[in-house]
Symmetry: C2
Subunit: 133 residues, 2 copies
């Protein structure tokens, strides 16, 4: 709690009810704006989707939230993790699971093989979850 408030105010931003509610509904599981919006609705908290978009964009900038893009063309957001991890997405039901892997060697190889100055990467796995197998 104090964390975000500090991060916000240190950049001249404000802590507001909507931001607090949105933050409270973030998770270490990735969620879409629609999902977050639904969660808030269920809690009888009325926040415009636009506000959710703007808040998440800001949280991403502040390093509070991490954004990922999957094939279905919608963005998903999750609490930024201290530890870098990856996702496994079910081809059938869309369920997303986190997975931890040590890809140091691969990143090093990429840096060596590419003419680009590589700064980050995304690694996602696809398959079938237990239920859909």
């Amino acid at each position: 709690m104090i964390l975000i408030k500090e991060k916000l105010s240190s950049q001249g931003y404000r802590m507001t009810k909507p931001r607090q509610a949105i933050f409270a509904n973030l998770d270490h599981e990735p969620q879409s704006v629609a999902e977050i919006s639904d969660r808030l609705k269920k809690q009888k908290i009325k926040i415009d989707k636009v506000t959710i978009y703007r808040t998440l964009t800001q949280f991403v900038k502040l390093g509070i939230v991490e954004e990922t893009q999957f094939k279905d063309k919608i963005s998903v957001y999750e609490l930024a993790d201290q530890e870098h991890h990856h996702h496994v997405i079910c081809d059938n039901c869309g369920k997303i699971e986190d997975i931890c892997l040590d890809e140091k060697i691969l990143v090093a190889a990429a840096k060596k093989n590419s003419s680009f100055k590589i700064k980050s990467h995304h690694l996602e796995f696809f398959g079938l979850c237990k239920k859909c197998c």
Copy 2:
């Protein structure tokens, strides 16, 4: 040429002028529908964007084309390659470069660590290209 025609007809589909033109403008570099459309326009070939979308979707199904999603929310398409490869995307200008890496070990680790039946994966690197460095 004969390749796609066979793949198409084997599934009851037809080889048409638009499909041939679209195929001829595909590349091993990923391109968006807008880019493909522009290329065709320059060649004075008039094909509706809708047709490009439908054709690409079909080519993907037939394994002729590979679709990738980047953060800017648009899909890019490239000729499906015999050899599995990855992309390096410039954070500044969006330039995309292909890169080959051997990630067998990593995939094996993912299969071991996950409860999912993993079938495929996506690996993309981000950074700055030579020009933007």
